[in-house]
């Protein structure tokens, strides 16, 4: 039996979480280093996955399959396709930066120091690793039930991260109010996602009932179901397929989030610390868009085509609505949250445009959005931690006081508005091209989103970084060594993937084509079909 690489990639952070949580209260620093060590080990394993993954090989590679709950037709089945392996790598890449960026975010308050059993630091780092483990296994699961279990279970650590840890901002007198706001945001996050998950549970049960009815034994194995579909053993009644599709899609649309199910995101990202906000938007939400590709399209191709017009319309609303609200925000973190909603609109648009460029662009966008949002949000977090305020109006002229901070913030912002030369441009362009070929009007409307992105990013930069130096930011220190370690690699990656996205698209493209073939969709004009990498240039 070969080494269970995929299991290990999820088990290492999980073990790290348990060990970190067990570190005694006084040994806070040790706990942090321990967590970082495990995050780096996970990154190493993810790198091995990438190295051993053969883009031209079988669809699902490095597979593992063990009996789990035979009564439910559930197997412990792991396997990665190109999309999965890249997203696992993205997760493993971002988490060490998240940990480093949040290095001092969870120190116990002096007042609570007397209570030696309260260990927030250990909890913070352990919870992040726990989220990482669950996200990784959701990207790897090829059993619908297994995916569901972790899709749902990751809400719990995420919930404690949002509700339990916030910015150290404002006066201590505000602490109670801030805690109440935070706890409301966390509850909203949990209830939205839990409701989505429960709707999906009904669909999962329904899927079992259908497979049990038609195949003799219920199964959740993605490959088995897809195979049975193509061989004609398994036929969904139209109504059933649509109902199941909607059940799944609802959960993923809440997670992604798609307008009008997005309202939990700004609150959660605004109240959580910047690293946790990165974890939400760059890592956890990707599970939603990833699952649309993997489960909605492959399990229910007919219903996917049926729902496409509505979903494209909702994605367009997301793009414009998110961008417009971002323009109007006064709070830096909420602005980035609304920008993310706009970007998730692009990703979903690309997925449901059902063209190679569109889906290739959408998958690449998941990676690029992860990196660019992480860069922007983490720098914003550094900025906020210096001044103790999230309001844009409290800043001004920062670039004169802290030029490196302002510069990195600008690069993160430019990546967010998809400046050519930075990574997100390639993916956004591909999504738009892919949409144009099939839905020209939708493509045209989506382009407006790019214009608005320029507006909210540049206005944000102008108000906070340029202009006369405000009294409140005078003497603000520039980025420290730890913060530079966080930001520099992310920016380097943005530049590199902006000029040369091939290493990533090389892995993604075959998987995207496989998905397309599952939906029985071909590009509108097959004769001019170009590889997405060429389309980028």
């Amino acid at each position: 039996m070969s080494f269970p690489l995929l299991t290990a990639t999820a088990a290492v952070p999980a073990a790290g979480a348990v060990l970190t949580a067990a570190v005694p209260a006084a040994k806070r620093e040790a706990a942090k280093w321990l967590a970082l060590l495990f995050a780096l080990a996970t990154l190493g394993l993810a790198a091995v996955q990438l190295a051993r993954f053969d883009p031209d090989g079988k669809t699902f590679q490095l597979t593992e399959s063990h009996a789990w709950i035979a009564d439910f037709g559930v197997r412990y089945e792991l396997g990665v396709d190109g999309i999965g392996v890249v997203l696992v790598a993205l997760t493993a890449l971002l988490v060490p930066f998240v940990l480093l960026a949040g290095w001092h975010d969870a120190e116990p308050l002096e007042t609570a120091a007397a209570d030696r059993r309260w260990r927030p630091t250990q909890g913070f780092f352990a919870l992040i690793l726990m989220v990482e483990a669950m996200v990784v296994i959701s990207f790897e699961a090829t059993d619908v039930f297994l995916f569901y279990v972790f899709f749902e279970a990751m809400l719990i650590p995420m919930y404690f991260l949002i509700g339990g840890f916030g910015d150290r901002t404002g006066e201590p007198a505000d602490a109670g109010e801030a805690a109440a706001r935070r706890s409301r945001a966390a509850v909203k996050f949990l209830l939205y996602n839990l409701a989505g998950g429960l709707v999906m549970l009904a669909a999962v049960v329904g899927l079992y009932a259908v497979t049990a009815d038609q195949l003799g034994a219920g199964t959740f194995s993605l490959q088995e179901i897809v195979q049975a579909r193509s061989s004609g053993d398994l036929k969904f009644a139209t109504v059933t397929e649509r109902a199941l599709f909607l059940g799944f899609f609802f959960a993923f649309a809440v997670k992604a989030p798609l307008w009008p199910l997005h309202t939990w995101l700004p609150g959660a990202m605004g109240e959580a610390t910047a690293p946790v906000a990165v974890l939400i938007t760059a890592v956890v939400d990707k599970v939603g868009t990833f699952a649309m590709l993997r489960f909605c399209l492959q399990l229910f191709p007919g219903a996917s085509k049926w729902a496409t017009p509505v979903i494209i319309a909702l994605a367009l609303v997301s793009i414009l609505y998110g961008a417009l609200l971002a323009v109007a925000q006064r709070d830096i973190k909420r602005l980035i949250a609304y920008a993310s909603i706009s970007h998730f609109g692009f990703i979903i648009l690309g997925v449901f445009a059902m063209t190679t460029q569109g889906q290739g662009g959408a998958t690449l966008y998941m990676v690029n959005h992860g990196i660019s949002t992480a860069a922007l949000m983490l720098v914003a977090g550094f900025l906020i931690s210096r001044r103790g305020s999230r309001l844009i109006a409290d800043y001004g002229g920062v670039q004169k006081v802290a030029p490196v901070l302002a510069g990195t913030f600008l690069i993160g912002g430019l990546a967010t508005l998809s400046l050519p030369g930075l990574a997100p441009f390639v993916s956004e362009f591909l999504v738009l091209v892919g949409t144009f070929t099939r839905y020209p009007v939708a493509g045209a409307i989506a382009t407006v989103g790019i214009v608005l992105a320029a507006l909210y990013v540049l206005v944000l930069y102008q108000r906070t970084m340029t202009g006369p130096v405000k009294e409140s930011v005078r003497g603000m220190p520039d980025l420290r060594a730890r913060e530079l370690v966080v930001v520099t690699p992310l920016i380097a990656l943005l530049l590199f993937l902006g000029v040369y996205p091939k290493p990533v698209t090389r892995i993604l493209d075959p998987a995207v084509e496989h998905t397309m073939s599952q939906v029985h969709k071909t590009d509108p004009r097959p004769d001019v079909r170009v590889s997405t990498a060429e389309g980028a240039k």
Partner: protein
């Protein structure tokens, strides 16, 4: 009249006349398979020994002796259940013992095993003596110093001063367990009724025995007794009507008449036999009696008051074991006696299940007391289990068995945690007092959070596996609307479970907040068992699903 003719021919039937001819002989002694009834007999024996111990042992040594008798008796009974199952009585050798009164089959043995384990863990909570501050130098448990003393009266003060405790709770527990063991195994309606009374009466008394808040406890007991007596009466009336319908009280005999396969009509009942009105009314009344014990809406009104007033260890035991026993009896009744009538009772039970799920989930939102909250949550769970009961398939039976086992340990654990959180007035069950518990006692709060997540059915806990099993069975038998209502009420229920978690972890502790008492190993073990079972059944449920699956066939 063909029936009259049939009666006549029956009356002169040769076999009957043969019996009549034998009449001068002695009545033959009933044939009882003692070995197969050993779990019940062991528990009853232990109960009798415990009563004797109560009578003859000096007060000082009673507590230890009672705990020992109880634990040994329950463990021995559990061993007997395992031995019976190992001998194949759960599958191949399943049959009806004791002259058709008691079934020895898979569901019966599975449920008896569950009840015994639940009782064993609950007994640990009964025996806990480190939580309440010592009364005049003597350790005391959660039970009244002297049950008969008037609350606040002189007799009570004297009893407290003397350091008495009510060690009678252990024999009462054992009698209740014995009744519960018979309840799901009962194969005729009279045995069902007797078992119901045998386990209900000790519970009424146990409910009244709280050491603190005695008036609340006595009020709960009176409510429980009155409503319980009422429901027993309804059940008994139903039994009488069913006897009128079928001329017999055995399950298989009634089922035969329902299916129209046999018409052994006794002349005395010739005018009523086969009368569908009797069957429908009688069946409905028996169902009502059982639904009352299960705590299903609209027969749930007693649950919150009784759960709140009863001593918490008793509440935990009652919430877990009563539910197991009553659902067992309900399953047997619906699957053995009334399957032929399913088109009549299924719509009604659909309504009951939907109502129960929604009432439990919605009313729980407004609760401000932990014990009442858990009571409403238990109502919602009864609704989920009913969704599995209605499936009428082997899958339905095994999913209900699994759910009951999973649920009862979560419940036991949750109530055991409630006993730990205390202030000057005893247990601090006001939810607002739990604010910030996660800061003061992270471990206890985390354990309680695990139980709440299991109640909410979050994956990787036993609650999820159980819920999935039940919903799966319901969906497979055409109960998609039930699944949808179940999912909706789960979402509603999640809200209040989450609210408690928020309260414990994200709110500042109150200055006058409760403290967490350090329990003796007894309660620690009970809580530990709860956590382990919750996680094991959540992560690796297959073995237990197999067990429940193998036990899923009722003998007829």
């Amino acid at each position: 009249m063909s029936r009259a003719a049939a009666v006549h021919s029956l009356w002169t039937d040769s076999s009957v006349s043969a019996v009549l001819a034998d009449a001068p002989r002695k009545i033959p002694a009933p044939h009882i398979e003692y070995a197969q009834l050993s779990p019940v007999l062991i528990v009853l024996g232990a109960a009798v020994v415990a009563v004797l111990a109560e009578a003859f042992l000096p007060r000082r040594s009673r507590h230890l002796a009672q705990v020992a008798i109880t634990v040994v008796g329950l463990a021995a009974a559990f061993a007997a259940v395992v031995a019976l199952a190992a001998k194949g009585y759960a599958t191949g050798k399943a049959h009806v013992a004791a002259m058709g009164a008691v079934a020895v089959d898979g569901p019966a043995l599975f449920l008896q095993g569950t009840i015994l384990l639940v009782a064993l863990v609950a007994a640990l909570g009964f025996a806990e003596r480190r939580l309440d501050p010592a009364a005049h130098g003597r350790p005391v448990d959660s039970f009244a110093a002297q049950g008969a003393a008037v609350p606040g009266g002189d007799a009570e003060q004297e009893a407290v001063k003397a350091g008495w405790t009510t060690s009678e709770v252990f024999p009462l527990l054992l009698f209740a367990v014995a009744g519960m063991l018979v309840f799901p195994a009962a194969d005729d309606l009279l045995t069902l009724f007797v078992a119901l009374e045998v386990f209900s009466l000790p519970l009424y008394v146990l409910c009244a025995l709280a050491r603190r808040k005695r008036l609340l406890s006595q009020e709960a007991a009176v409510k429980y007794f009155l409503l319980g007596a009422f429901s027993s009466a309804i059940l008994l009336f139903g039994v009488a009507l069913l006897y009128g319908y079928a001329g017999t009280v055995t399950y298989s005999g009634i089922a035969d008449v329902v299916n129209g396969t046999v018409r052994t009509v006794s002349p005395a009942l010739a005018s009523s036999t086969g009368n569908d009105a009797l069957l429908l009314i009688g069946g409905a009344m028996v169902l009502m009696g059982l639904l009352f014990k299960v705590g299903a809406a609209p027969f749930h009104m007693w649950t919150p008051d009784v759960y709140q007033g009863a001593p918490t260890p008793v509440t935990g035991f009652m919430a877990a074991a009563t539910k197991v026993a009553a659902f067992g009896a309900l399953l047997r009744l619906l699957y053995v006696v009334l399957p032929g009538l399913r088109w009549d009772w299924r719509p009604v039970m659909w309504g009951v299940a939907i109502l129960t799920m929604l009432v439990g989930a919605i009313v729980a939102i407004t609760q401000t007391d932990v014990k009442r909250l858990l009571a409403y949550s238990s109502i919602a769970h009864a609704g989920f289990i009913l969704a599995g009961v209605i499936a009428i398939s082997p899958d339905g039976v095994s999913s209900v068995l699994f759910y009951l086992a999973a649920y009862s340990f979560v419940t036991l654990g949750a109530f055991a945690v409630v006993t730990l959180v205390r202030d000057a007035g005893g247990e601090a069950t006001q939810l607002s007092k739990w604010a910030g518990l996660g800061r003061r006692s992270p471990l206890v709060a985390a354990v309680f959070a695990v139980f709440l997540l299991a109640f909410a059915g979050i994956p990787l806990t036993s609650g999820f596996a159980g819920k999935f099993a039940v919903f799966k069975a319901a969906a497979a038998s055409g109960g998609a609307p039930l699944v949808i209502v179940g999912v909706v009420s789960s979402a509603i229920a999640a809200f209040f479970y989450v609210r408690v978690i928020v309260l414990m972890f994200f709110n500042e502790p109150r200055a006058d907040g409760p403290t967490v008492a350090v329990p003796s190993p007894l309660t620690s073990v009970a809580i530990g068992v709860g956590v382990v079972v919750t996680l094991v059944l959540g992560v690796a449920p297959q073995y237990f699903l197999d067990l429940a699956g193998d036990a899923g066939v009722f003998v007829r």
